[in-house]
């Protein structure tokens, strides 16, 4: 007779500070985990992009080549390439190991707010304040984008890509989902400039943060409102939101220097984690473990759950 499955542990929230990275690159505009959560990227306002090991707190590499501040970055699925975008209107594809610029995609008419790889890192998608999302081809040498998604009426603030969908949040208050498989565009009106969007891990829902200090969980298929999360403050800045590693909690930055956690189903505020004095601008949730990276001012902090044991690194390993 088989043993009964152990009772699943109650999901823990990352509230224990384990690392504090002084990035020394001006304001950290965005912090992003890589695909497996072992490394992270920080985008600095001093035009540099840095690669870190947040678990150890070590700086691994600095990528410089942007003309203005870097606003977003993403890593490819195989960790061989990075892409970043910035206020210099360019999208840059980097080689991780050498730190060289592989390609620079020019074409946006304004600051590029967000950038994403597709699943196989063959296409880079970038959203800009010129109200377009551009799909850049990494495979060919073509300088023009494959396609320009210019349906947004205002700047594109956030972008996410699944295996067959492109989700974009725009300042015109709409969340647009381009379904490549069905060949359809779904546009959900949220009512307030959208600052951040993301998919849930199960791919059924989309989360949209908007400037009315509200996060909304929308059903992907119907556009119905599944949950609303308030309590934080987000009225002026482009702040990130995300879902926890098991879709149990909704997390958002706030302008009051805290990070807020809500229960996804109940919508109740579970925790407000004081992070710093300034605006918590960016956060990134570990893809598989309860770990959270927050970026405030020039500092990135790494938070783990309470039960997490910081293990000593054996020498020579």
């Amino acid at each position: 007779m088989a043993f009964p499955e152990p009772k699943p542990k109650k999901p823990e929230l990352p509230k224990r500070l384990v690392q504090n990275l002084e990035c020394k690159q001006g304001a950290v505009r965005a912090v992003r985990f890589n695909v497996d959560g072992n490394y992270c990227l920080t985008c600095g306002s001093d035009k540099s992009l840095k690669l870190w090991n947040p678990h150890k707190g070590t700086l691994l590499k600095t990528y410089s080549g942007h003309g203005y501040e870097v606003l977003d970055a993403a890593g490819s699925f195989d960790n061989s390439q990075l892409c970043s975008c910035g206020a210099d209107k360019t999208v840059v594809l980097w080689d991780v190991a050498s730190g060289q610029v592989i390609r620079k995609f020019r074409g946006h008419a304004g600051k590029v707010n967000c950038v994403q790889f597709n699943e196989e890192a063959t296409v880079i998608l970038s959203g800009s304040i010129d109200s377009s999302v551009r799909c850049w081809d990494c495979r060919s040498r073509r300088p023009d984008p494959i396609q320009i998604l210019d349906e947004a009426k205002d700047g594109v603030s956030s972008l996410k890509v699944s295996d067959y969908e492109i989700l974009s949040g725009s300042v015109d208050g709409r969340v647009r989902r381009y379904d490549l498989r069905a060949g359809e565009l779904y546009s959900d009106y949220v009512g307030s400039p959208v600052t951040s969007v993301c998919f849930s891990k199960d791919g059924q829902c989309t989360l949209a943060a908007s400037l009315d200090s509200t996060l909304r969980l929308l059903d992907k298929d119907t556009g119905e409102l599944l949950g609303e999360y308030t309590g934080h403050k987000n009225t002026a800045y482009k702040l990130d939101c995300c879902l926890s590693e098991k879709d149990t909690h909704v997390t958002s930055c706030s302008e009051d220097g805290k990070v807020y956690f809500w229960d996804l189903v109940e919508g109740s505020l579970m925790l407000s984690l004081p992070v710093g004095r300034g605006v918590v601008q960016s956060l990134s949730f570990h893809p598989s473990k309860p770990g959270l990276l927050t970026a405030t001012e020039g500092r990135v902090q790494f938070w783990r759950e309470e039960s997490h044991v910081v293990e000593e690194q054996p020498p020579g390993c």
Partner: protein, 935 residues
């Protein structure tokens, strides 16, 4: 942090993709493909073959390229005559050929033969022999004989049919003919160039006696091959024909391999090898002297040009063929075909005409009268409608001459340009007399409008603004404009512009309208509208006509002569518009407020991804057979102004923008407020408005004092300053962008190709400048406002209005402009918040109005100064320096703070590694392996 034993478990957790290659056996090298230069040809015995380029593209021949064998050279057929008389063996070419030549790819392949059914030879010798042997060796002798009796004769069906029709082997097919007495052979001295002699008739010397009344079967000849020449070889080139190289070989030991028809029949007619001293085999100089050739006298003959014809002569070379290398049948019948031009085969039942057909008679053209001039004059057409005196006068003005007069006048009194106009010819392109003519028509019109606008103001200033309602105002404007435009309005008959050509009735009404305008009628609008229309429609149409008339005033004839109308008009009056527009925001707004997300807030469109994008995403193209990319577009009528409008009063007819602008401004007080996408929420709106109100208030003060040229028109109508034309133009473009529902960018581009570009680039620069700045927002917004000053005239204008009217009425673009200043939507937080820099807390949208009010006047004072000095740029630079300085200051402070922070944190986190310099190799290794962190 990684667990100590992590490295063991790491490998277990690695996931493998694909099939692994088989491990190589140790000590074995990977086989490399043989490069091309090392690939060799070997014969059956594994000997290397060398290419020789000999007779038949052959490789090594004989025994190591000798004629002998391994034992040396020995004629195989030598038999001592003492013991036995050697049989006289006839040697065929095959006796001298190599094995390769007889193989599949040689010149005399043995392998491919026709099957019995299709071979015209009745018996197969080999099979016969085999059967014979079988008959001897079989257990029951004689069975094969029985088989022979039973087995049907193997004759092909075609042959059988022909036989039934009386054909015999060796004969040609066709009715029997009388044989003519033979002509002499052509001169044998004729040199033949090329590869092979044309096949000479074996029958030439055949028969001497021909009875007169005996008919013969036609000769068996090859039909004329009328296949076109497709190769690039010379005319008449035939290549090496194996049937000729082995002509006449059919000895007992050498069964004939080549069952070609003609060859066979000649065989049947007799073995020709013994007939005469006939050349056999390969001949022709190209191949030198063949092995079987006797003559070798002129192998080394030099080619001289004298052997070639150098002149194209009428007379034929003697063979009546004119270069036609047909079989000799026709060559021999020379006399008969003397006058025949047609050299092809004559069909049965037809004969060649003896008389040539009558020549065609040609008729000469008629004699022209002496005073004939090949020029046609078109009589100018004057319609009855144009007969009113004013229009005629206008015509006189525009063309310089009345056409009816022109008719009466002697044409010789006209000068060249007058004649040109009469003829409707285009003017010669010469140096233009004035600079104005280099301007585009659009620019000219704009200049005109600016002038008119100034005049118009003088007139309108008397009108009390507040008392105007929409219709009466627009009507009043119309009246003024009708007067102001006067003779410059489009004349429907003289200009070929028909804005409503799609709708003839409407076009007619339009023309009437123009005419009445010309005549100076006051009640233009009422007189020629469709009685079936509603009041509203009438108003619309009136407006449309009016704009069209202003827009398409007949321009300078010199200018118009330089342009031609497009051939394809489809594109000119159509514009692409997305088929599906996102629904009105009003409903959605309310739905959002009620939290009725779902169908109410969702728009669903058909969207076509690019094919390549689908490929890259590994997704099948949902619309694999459509060429559309993006949202499907539809073509809409461009000139139907209201396609693009959601606001009732604004129009997209662009050149009339100055007018519209005025109208809008006057209308706007009564206009209901429409929520725009910039209205985030009520709360925010108020705040925004209060800010904008404040800004505008401050600016209006400034403007009154400094910005005379731009703002005079709008803010103070009592002044009669003449504005600078280009500024007014700029202003109009700025205003243009303020329409709430924008038409597609293409339209803008088409209209304001130059000016809008400038505008957008300047705004880009602005945003760039912002990016430069340290992102503390108070100095930031301040400085960007400075940066914006040179081109914020429109904003100023709007703000002035906002001061005088309610704050709600600020057109949406003002907010847009403001937001542009605040970098498009949500901003980025400042670099650092520290206690010392608290006073630089970002002035966000949510910050208090009072705070703004405290700071704004300061700003405005600064601005004031700047403007007075008219040194925007210098000042800007200075400012930026200051800001930079401030920023540095701030950074230092923040650094101090952060340093203290790090000290604190480093106490608690003592285990931070200090490995910062990792080699790229190491980095790569780590990344490639992606160890799963164990916690």
């Amino acid at each position: 942090m990684a667990a100590p034993g992590a490295s063991d478990s790491e490998e277990e957790e690695l996931a493998g993709y694909g099939t692994a290659l088989e491990p190589l056996p140790e000590g074995e090298r990977i086989k490399k493909p043989v490069p091309l230069q090392e690939q060799t040809v070997k014969d059956e015995k594994g000997r290397y073959k060398r290419f020789h380029g000999a007779f038949s593209g052959g490789f090594s021949a004989g025994y190591f390229n000798t004629v002998g064998s391994k034992e040396g050279w020995a004629p195989s057929t030598f038999v001592s005559s003492r013991q036995k008389r050697a049989d006289k063996t006839a040697l065929g070419p095959e006796d001298f050929m190599d094995e390769e030549d007889l193989s599949e790819y040689g010149i005399a392949p043995k392998e491919i033969t026709t099957t019995d059914d299709f071979a015209s030879k009745p018996k197969d010798r080999i099979k016969e022999k085999a059967r014979h042997i079988a008959g001897i060796t079989s257990s029951i002798p004689g069975t094969t004989a029985l088989d022979d009796l039973i087995a049907p004769a193997k004759i092909t069906i075609g042959v059988e049919l022909l036989r039934k029709m009386g054909w015999k082997e060796g004969q040609g097919v066709g009715p029997r003919v009388k044989r003519e007495p033979r002509k002499q052979k052509p001169d044998p001295e004729v040199k033949v160039y090329g590869c092979a002699l044309p096949p000479e008739g074996s029958e030439d010397e055949e028969d001497e006696y021909q009875p007169a009344n005996v008919t013969f079967a036609p000769k068996d000849v090859m039909p004329v091959d009328l296949t076109p020449k497709e190769n690039v070889r010379g005319l008449g080139y035939q290549g090496l024909d194996p049937t000729k190289a082995l002509f006449g070989v059919s000895g007992g030991e050498h069964p004939s391999l080549f069952t070609d028809g003609s060859e066979k029949t000649s065989n049947l007619l007799g073995d020709l090898r013994h007939s005469k001293g006939r050349k056999l085999g390969i001949s022709g100089q190209a191949f030198g002297v063949g092995a079987l050739e006797e003559e070798d006298d002129d192998i080394y003959a030099t080619e001289t040009l004298s052997k070639y014809d150098t002149v194209l002569k009428d007379e034929e070379p003697g063979d009546m063929l004119y270069g036609w290398t047909a079989p000799k049948q026709y060559k021999n019948k020379k006399g008969m075909e003397k006058e025949i031009r047609y050299i092809g085969k004559i069909l049965d039942g037809f004969s060649l005409a003896s008389k040539s057909s009558a020549t065609k008679k040609t008729y000469l053209p008629p004699d022209l009268p002496r005073d004939y001039r090949p020029v046609h004059y078109f009589r100018p057409v004057i319609t009855a409608r144009n007969e009113n005196p004013l229009l005629l006068q206008a015509l006189v003005e525009s063309t310089g001459k009345l056409e009816t007069d022109a008719l009466q006048q002697n044409r010789h009194t006209l000068n060249a340009s007058q004649r040109r106009e009469l003829l409707g010819e285009t003017a010669l392109k010469g140096p233009s007399p004035s600079v104005l003519e280099y301007l585009s028509g659009k620019d000219k019109e704009r200049i005109k409008e600016v002038k008119q606008a100034a005049e118009q103001q003088m007139k309108t200033q008397t009108l009390p603004q507040q008392s105007l309602n929409i219709s009466s105002f627009s009507y009043g404007v119309h009246q003024k404009w009708q007067m102001a435009l006067g003779g410059q309005l489009a004349t429907p008959s003289s200009s070929d512009f028909k804005p409503f050509a799609k709708n003839p009735e409407k076009q007619k009404r339009y023309e009437d309208y123009i005419e009445s305008l010309k005549q100076g009628q006051k009640d233009t609008s009422e007189s020629h509208t469709d009685p079936g229309m509603t009041e509203w429609e009438r108003g619309r149409e009136r407006e449309e006509f009016f704009h069209a008339a202003v827009l398409y005033k007949s321009s300078n004839p010199v200018l118009s002569s330089r342009f031609t109308r497009a051939k394809h008009e489809d594109d000119t009056d159509k514009v692409e518009v997305p088929r599906d527009q996102e629904m009105d925001i009003d409903d959605k707004e309310s739905a959002v407020k009620m939290k009725m997300f779902g169908k109410l807030t969702r728009d669903k469109f058909e969207w076509h991804p690019e094919k390549l994008l689908c490929k890259r995403f590994n997704v099948p193209d949902p619309y694999s057979d459509s060429l559309i990319v993006g949202l499907p577009k539809v073509k809409r009528d461009k000139y139907s102004v209201f396609n693009f409008l959601t606001l009732p009063e604004s129009t997209t007819t662009t050149i009339t923008q100055t007018i519209n602008e005025k109208m809008q401004q006057n209308i706007s007080p009564n206009k209901p407020k429409k929520p725009s996408r910039w209205d985030v929420s009520d709360k925010e709106k108020k705040k925004k408005d209060s800010i904008s109100e404040f800004i505008s208030l401050a600016r209006s003060k400034v403007n009154i004092q400094q910005q005379q040229p731009e703002s005079v028109i709008e803010e103070d109508r009592s002044r009669t300053n003449e504005p600078l034309p280009n500024k007014a133009v700029n202003e109009s473009t700025d205003q243009k962008e303020e329409e709430e529902s924008r038409p597609s960018m293409d339209l803008f581009k088409a209209i304001f190709a130059s000016s809008s570009d400038e505008k957008s680039s300047s705004s880009e620069e602005d945003s760039d400048e912002e990016a430069h700045q340290p992102p503390s927002s108070v100095p930031n917004s301040e400085s960007t406002k400075h940066a914006n000053l040179p081109d914020t005239s429109s904003a100023d204008v709007q703000e002035c209005m906002a001061v005088t009217s309610e704050p709600d009425l600020v057109p949406p673009l003002l907010k847009e402009e403001l937001d542009k200043v605040e970098e498009f939507g949500p901003r980025l937080p400042p670099v650092s918040f520290s206690k010392t820099t608290q006073e630089h807390e970002p002035v966000s949208l949510a910050s208090s109005v009072e705070a703004n009010q405290k700071e704004k006047p300061k700003k405005n004072k600064e601005k004031h100064k700047v403007k007075r000095e008219h040194k925007h740029k210098k000042e800007k630079k200075k400012k930026r320096k200051k800001h930079r300085h401030k920023g540095k200051h701030k950074n230092k402070k923040s650094e101090k703070n952060s340093n203290s922070d790090t000290v604190d944190s480093s106490d608690s986190l003592s285990d931070i590694e200090e490995i910062t310099d990792l080699s790229s190799q190491e980095l790569l290794r780590r990344l490639k392996h992606l160890p799963a962190m164990k916690q």
